[in-house]
Symmetry: C2
Subunit: 676 residues, 2 copies
C-alpha cells in the first residue's frame, strides 16, 4: 500500500480514537479495526459532498452504528460539513456528532445503531436503485447505477431482521449491494464463540449471495480492493467476510475491552507513535490526506455529478415524460391532482371491509403515483395490498416480474419488510413504500417501525385484521395492545378508519406526510359507508360524525366501533339521552389541529366515553370514561366475539348511560384542557 494511503488510514483510525477519548464514551475498537476497509470503500465511492442528496451517488450504511466515530472521521475527511470542532464535541448534547449515526446529518444515508437494521435498510436502498434504474435508464442514458456499500458486524448478523432481509436480497439478486462483514470474533459478551459459531459464509451462500473472504482486513488493502472489484462483477449481492483485529494497533487489540470503552491515555500515545503521529497531539489531519481524498474521490465525484446533469439534460429532450417525472419526484412533489383519484362514498354505497376499501384506494391511485412501491409480508390475498395493475418486483430471469415492478413479495418477514421500507424511503426520489401484514404482526417489526418514526421515513403499514373482528383465528392473531404501543410512539400516525371516506383520508394524509410514517389499521369484516363522513373531515384526525342538540354525552370511536356507536344513539335517544358521535381515526393528526378545532369536537361540559375494541390504555387523554378490551380475545365467529365482550349498540348504550349518570350535576372539563 502506498504511503499516503497508509497515512490516510491511520488518520481515520486516530481521529476516531480521539473522538472517543474526548467524549470519554464510545467505541474505539471497531473504527480502528475498520479504518482500512473504510478507506478502501470511500476512496472509490461516487459521492459529491457539495450535494449530499444527488440521486445517483453511492450509498454507505454503517450497520454496526456504534462505530459511528469512524463515520464522523470519514465525513470530515471527505468534505462533508463536519468540522474538527464537531468531532471534538462527539456525544455531547446539542452537537452534530451524536452517539449513533442519525440520517439528518449530511452524508449519513440511514440512522443506525439498533443492530441488524442497517444491512436491512441497505437492501431497501438497493431495491429502490434497481427500480429507479429499470424505470428510467434508457439506451445511452444510464441515469442510475449506484452501489450500496455496507459495513456490518457480528451483532447485525445475529439479529433475525438481517436474516430476513438478506434472504430476500439473495432472492432478488441485488448485485448493487456490497456488504463487508467485520469478522473480528468479538462482541460485548467477549469472544463470539460463546454464542455465534455458525458458518456465516455458508449461510449467505444459502441465501444466494456471492461470498468472498479477505484474510487480513487490517492491512491487506489490495485484497480488499480486489474483492470490491470482484463484487461489482457479480450477478448477486456480495458479502465480503473481512477477518479483522478489533482495536488494531491498541495494546488491547483483539479483546472486547476495546469494544465499548475509550482507550487508556498511554495506549493512545503508543498508538500515535506507532502510526507516526505526535503522541501529544489530538485531532490531527495531515494536509496531504485532505488533498489525497480531494484528488481521488471528491474531484471525480463532482465531475461525475456534472456529467450526470449533462446526461439528464439530453435525456430530458429525448424522454421528456420520464424526465418530467424524475424532476417532479426529485423535488418532492406529487402529480397534480393525484388526490382526485381517491375514492369517495355515500351511505348508499354498500358495506365493505376497510381492507377491501384500502384495495380499491390502492387500485385507484397506483397507476398515477409511480413513487408508490407496495408489497406484503405474505398474506397478499388477505390484506389485499396488490393493485390489480401491479407487476411484481422480481429479477427478470425468474419470469415472475421485473425490476420495474412495484409490488414486492416480502415473504413472511415483517421486520425485514419494515427495515427495507425504511431503506426504500431513504433512497429519495419521493419513493413511498407501503407494506401489508396483519395488524398484530406489525409488532414483529417494532424495531423498524420505531426507526421509521425516529428517522422520519414516511412509510405506510397496511395493517389488516385489526381486532377481535378477525374472528376464528383467535387470540394469537387478535391485536389488543398494538394501537396503544404505536400511538405512544412519537412521530407516528396510527389510523383506524371507519369507512371508505376515512380510508381515503388515511391514505391522503399518510402519503402527504413527508416525515411521518403511518400505520393504517383495517378491518377484516364489512362496515357500512357512514352518513356524515368525508375525506376532508377525516383528514383532521377526529370530527363530529353525528351530532345531537345539547349532547349529554360524546361517544368517541374508531374503525368498526363507529357504526356500533352510531347505532347506540338510537337506544340512548329512547332513554332521553342525546349523544354526539365523534369518529377519531388518528390521534396524531388530531393533535396537530388548532386548539379551537379540537375543543369544538371535544368541548368542556360534556362527559366523553371512548369506544374501541382494543386496549383502552391511553384513551383517557381524550375521554373521561373508556370502553375497551383489557384482556386477550377469543376464537369464534366475529359477531359472536363482539357480543361476548358487549361491543354492541346495547353494550355501548349501557356504558353511555352510566357515564351520563356518573357525571350528572358535575363540572365536566374537556380532557384537552390541561394544567400545563
Amino acid at each position: 500500500m502506498s504511503e499516503i494511503e497508509q497515512l490516510a488510514i491511520n488518520t481515520i483510525g486516530l481521529l476516531s480514537v480521539d473522538q472517543v477519548a474526548a467524549a470519554n464514551s464510545g467505541h474505539p475498537g471497531a473504527p480502528l479495526g475498520l479504518s482500512t476497509v473504510a478507506h478502501a470503500i470511500w476512496k472509490q465511492m461516487r459521492i459529491n459532498p457539495k450535494n449530499p442528496d444527488w440521486i445517483n451517488r453511492d450509498r454507505f450504511v454503517l450497520s454496526n452504528g456504534h462505530s459511528v466515530a469512524l463515520l464522523y472521521s470519514l465525513l470530515h475527511l471527505f468534505g462533508y460539513p463536519l468540522a474538527l470542532n464537531d468531532l471534538k464535541q462527539f456525544r455531547q448534547l446539542g452537537s452534530k456528532t451524536p452517539g449513533h449515526p442519525e440520517a439528518e446529518t449530511p452524508g449519513i444515508d440511514v440512522t443506525t445503531g439498533p443492530l441488524g437494521q442497517g444491512i436491512s435498510n441497505a437492501v431497501g436502498l438497493a431495491i429502490a436503485q434497481k427500480n429507479f434504474a429499470a424505470r428510467f435508464n434508457k439506451p445511452g442514458y444510464t441515469l442510475s447505477d449506484s452501489y450500496t456499500y455496507v459495513v456490518l458486524g457480528d451483532g447485525c448478523l445475529q439479529e433475525g431482521v438481517s436474516s430476513e432481509a438478506s434472504s430476500l436480497a439473495g432472492h432478488l439478486q441485488l448485485n448493487n449491494l456490497i456488504a463487508f462483514y467485520d469478522d473480528n470474533h468479538i462482541t460485548i459478551d467477549g469472544n463470539t464463540n460463546v454464542s455465534f459459531t455458525e458458518d456465516v459464509n455458508k449461510r449467505y451462500e444459502a441465501y444466494g449471495w456471492n461470498v468472498l473472504h479477505v484474510q487480513n482486513g487490517n492491512t491487506d488493502l489490495a485484497a480488499i480492493q480486489a474483492a470490491l472489484e470482484q463484487a461489482k462483477k457479480s450477478d448477486k449481492p456480495t458479502l465480503i467476510r473481512l477477518t479483522t483485529i478489533i482495536g488494531y494497533g491498541s495494546l488491547q487489540q483483539g479483546t472486547h475491552s476495546v469494544h465499548g470503552a475509550p482507550l487508556k491515555a498511554d495506549d493512545i500515545k503508543q498508538l500515535k507513535t506507532k502510526f507516526g503521529f505526535n503522541p501529544e497531539e489530538s485531532f490531527v489531519v495531515p494536509q496531504e490526506v485532505y488533498d489525497y481524498y480531494q484528488k481521488e474521490t471528491l474531484t471525480p465525484g463532482a465531475a461525475a455529478e456534472e456529467e450526470w446533469n449533462a446526461l439528464f439534460a439530453s435525456y430530458a429532450k429525448e424522454y421528456p415524460t420520464e424526465a418530467a417525472e424524475i424532476s417532479r419526484r426529485l423535488s418532492g412533489e406529487f402529480p397534480e391532482g393525484w388526490e382526485s383519484q381517491l375514492p369517495t362514498y355515500t351511505p348508499a354505497d354498500k358495506p365493505l371491509a376497510t381492507r377491501k376499501l384500502s384495495e380499491i384506494t390502492l387500485d385507484n391511485i397506483f397507476d398515477n403515483l409511480p413513487e408508490l412501491i407496495g408489497g406484503s409480508a405474505d398474506l397478499t390475498g388477505s390484506n389485499l395490498t396488490r393493485s390489480k395493475d401491479a407487476v411484481d418486483f422480481q429479477p427478470e430471469n425468474t419470469g415472475l416480474g421485473t425490476y420495474n415492478g412495484r409490488y414486492i413479495r416480502y415473504g413472511v418477514r415483517e421486520h425485514g419488510m419494515g427495515a427495507i421500507m425504511n431503506g426504500i424511503s431513504a433512497f429519495g426520489a419521493h419513493y413511498k413504500p407501503y407494506g401489508g401484514t396483519f395488524l398484530n404482526f406489525v409488532s414483529y417489526a417494532a424495531g423498524a417501525v420505531r426507526l421509521s418514526a425516529l428517522s422520519g421515513h414516511p412509510v405506510i403499514w397496511v395493517a389488516t385484521h385489526d381486532s377481535i373482528g378477525l374472528g376464528e383465528d383467535g387470540p394469537t392473531h387478535q391485536p389488543i395492545e398494538t394501537l396503544a404501543h404505536f400511538r405512544a410512539t412519537p412521530n407516528l400516525k396510527v389510523w383506524r378508519p371507519a369507512d371508505g371516506n376515512e380510508v381515503s383520508a388515511a391514505y391522503k394524509v399518510a402519503l402527504e406526510s413527508n416525515h411521518t410514517p403511518s400505520i393504517i389499521a383495517l378491518s377484516r369484516q364489512n362496515l357500512p359507508q357512514l352518513e356524515g363522513s368525508s375525506i376532508e373531515k377525516a383528514s383532521k384526525g377526529a370530527y363530529v360524525l353525528k351530532d345531537a342538540e345539547n349532547p349529554d354525552v360524546i361517544l368517541l370511536a374508531t374503525g368498526s366501533e363507529v357504526e356500533i356507536a352510531v347505532n347506540s344513539t338510537e337506544l340512548l335517544k329512547a332513554n332521553g339521552i342525546n349523544a354526539r358521535v365523534v369518529s377519531f381515526p388518528d390521534f396524531h393528526t388530531f393533535d396537530q389541529q388548532s386548539k379551537e378545532y379540537q375543543l369544538s369536537v371535544l368541548p368542556d361540559g360534556v362527559p366523553i366515553l371512548s369506544v374501541e375494541v382494543l386496549s383502552p390504555f391511553g384513551w383517557s387523554k381524550y375521554s373521561h370514561e373508556q370502553f375497551g378490551l383489557s384482556r386477550f380475545g377469543a376464537s369464534g365467529k366475529a359477531p359472536e366475539v363482539y357480543k361476548l365482550f358487549e361491543f354492541t349498540p346495547e353494550g355501548v348504550a349501557k356504558r353511555a348511560e352510566k357515564t351520563v349518570a356518573f357525571y350528572k350535576g358535575q363540572q365536566v372539563r374537556s380532557p384537552l384542557n390541561r394544567a400545563f
Copy 2:
C-alpha cells in the same frame, strides 16, 4: 406401509378436513400434507395422556400453528380429553378447539400460530431438558431423556426469530431437538418461489444442524421413520426436510387454494372415497385406529411413566437431596424462606444503579434457586445479569461451560431469547427464565413477549438502560414508548423500581407470579436508597413513599424520577405546597390491590401529577396531569439530557404548582373512581 397405518394416516387427514369443513374456516392443506409425518412422530412419542404434564414425556410443537386441526385430530386419537364433539366445534366461541393451538389445552405444549415462535420455543424446551438431565441424571438413573419434536413450515423459516433460535440451537448442539420442515413450496402468496428461494438445507448446515431429506413426505413412511432414527443418533439438532404436497389427496393438491380455505364438498367426497371412507359420513374414526394407537403408543407410554416413577422412587433413596428438589419443583413450590435472601436497604446505603441492584439481587438468590436460568442477548457486562457464581450453559466440548450451567449466552438475539425463554418455562419443573437486554430492545422481541403474556409464561426481562438516562448512546437506544406498549399488554407486569428495596420487590413478585411475565426496567445511572421504601410496600405496585399533611398535590413517579419528585417537595414546601410522593413501580400489581388500598394511595380530592421520563401515554389512568416525554430523546451526558427536558426538581415543582393552581377550588375525583 401396513394397512392399519395407512388407515390411521387417512383418519388423521379426514378428521382434520372435517373440522375445517364444519367450521367453514381454517386450514385443510397442511394437515392433509402432514398426516403421514404426524402419524410417524406421534406413534413413537413417549407420552401418557393420563398425565399430560409428566416431566419426562416427549414434547411436540406445531410451529405452523394454523395447521391446528391436525393437532386436534392427534389429541383425539391419542386419548387426550378432546371428544369428537369438541372437534365438531372447531373454531367456535367457547369451544375447546380454538383457531390456533393454545397451551392450556391438555397435550398442547406451547401456544403457536404467530409464525417462527414454535420452533424457537422448541429450542427452549430442548435447553430445559438438557439442563434438567445434566442436573439430575445419575449413573443408572436416566430421569430425563425426552425429545422435542417440531413441525414447521416455510413461514416459520422466513421469520427472523427462527433464524436466531436455530443458530443458537446449532451452537448449543441440542441433539434432543428434531424438526420436520414441511417443504410444500406453498405460502398464502402462492408458490414460495416468489420470495423464498434460499437453500434451507445449506442454511441449517451452516447453523451446525444435522440436515436430512425425505423426498416423498406424503407416502414414504419408512423413509420418515428412518430419518427419525438417524436424527436420534446425531450429536446435533436435526432438521428433516420433508418434501410434501399440500392438501395431499384433494383435487386442488399442491396449490395455495388448499392453504387457508375449506375444501369444497365434492372434493371432500372424492377424498373420502379415495381414502376408503364413506363419502357421506364425517368425523369417522375406525375402532382399529384407536386400538392401534392404544397398543403402539399409549400402553407403552403409560408403562414408561410407571417405570419412571419406580426409578424415581429408588433415586430418592440414593439421592435424597436431588429427589427432594425435583419433588419440590414439580409441585411448583419455592425453597422455604428463599425470599429472605432478597437484599434490603436503608437510606444510609450508597446510591447505585438499579441495574447494579438487580445484579446484587441475582447474586443473592441464584445459588438457592436452582430453577432460575438466566442469560442475556449479549450485553452481559452492561446489564449485569450474570450472577458471579453462574456457570455458562454450554456443551462441554466447547470448554466454556456445561449443560448444568444456568447462564445462557443468547447472542444479539432478543426475539429468539424471548421465544426460547417461553419454551424453557413451558418445559415445567418450575423453571424461571430471565433474560437481559436494553429496555429499548425488548421491543425487538414483542412477538415473543406477547405470547408470554397470552400463554402465561412467567419469564422475566431484565431491561436495563431504561430511559434517556443512558445518555450518550442517544435516541436510537433511549426508550420512549416501550413502557406504554407493555403496560397496555394484558397479563404483563412492567416494573420500574426506584431503589434497592423496590428491585427486590420486583424480583419477588415476578418470581412468585406463576402465570404472568414481567419486565423489570432498570436504570443505567445511580439512584439513592430511598427513605420510606420497603419490599413489602413496593410489592403492592404503588405506595405512599413520602406523605404530607393535607397534601395539595400527589406526585406519582417511577424509577429514576422518584428521587426527583422527592427532591421537588422541598421546593414546593417553600412555596406553601404540601406534596405526597407515591412511588409506582408496577401498574399491573397495583391494579390487583383492593379498591380500598388503591384509594388510600390515590384518594379523591387531591390533584395527581405523574412524572416519568417516558411517553406519558396511559398515565391518565392514574393521574390528572402528566409530565412525560412525547418526543425522542437526545445524545449527551445523562444529567444534561435530563436537564434539557426539565426532569429536575425545579421542572417537577413548576408543573406541580401549575397543577395545584389549575385544580384550585374544583371538585377533584380520583381517577380510580369510574362510571363503570
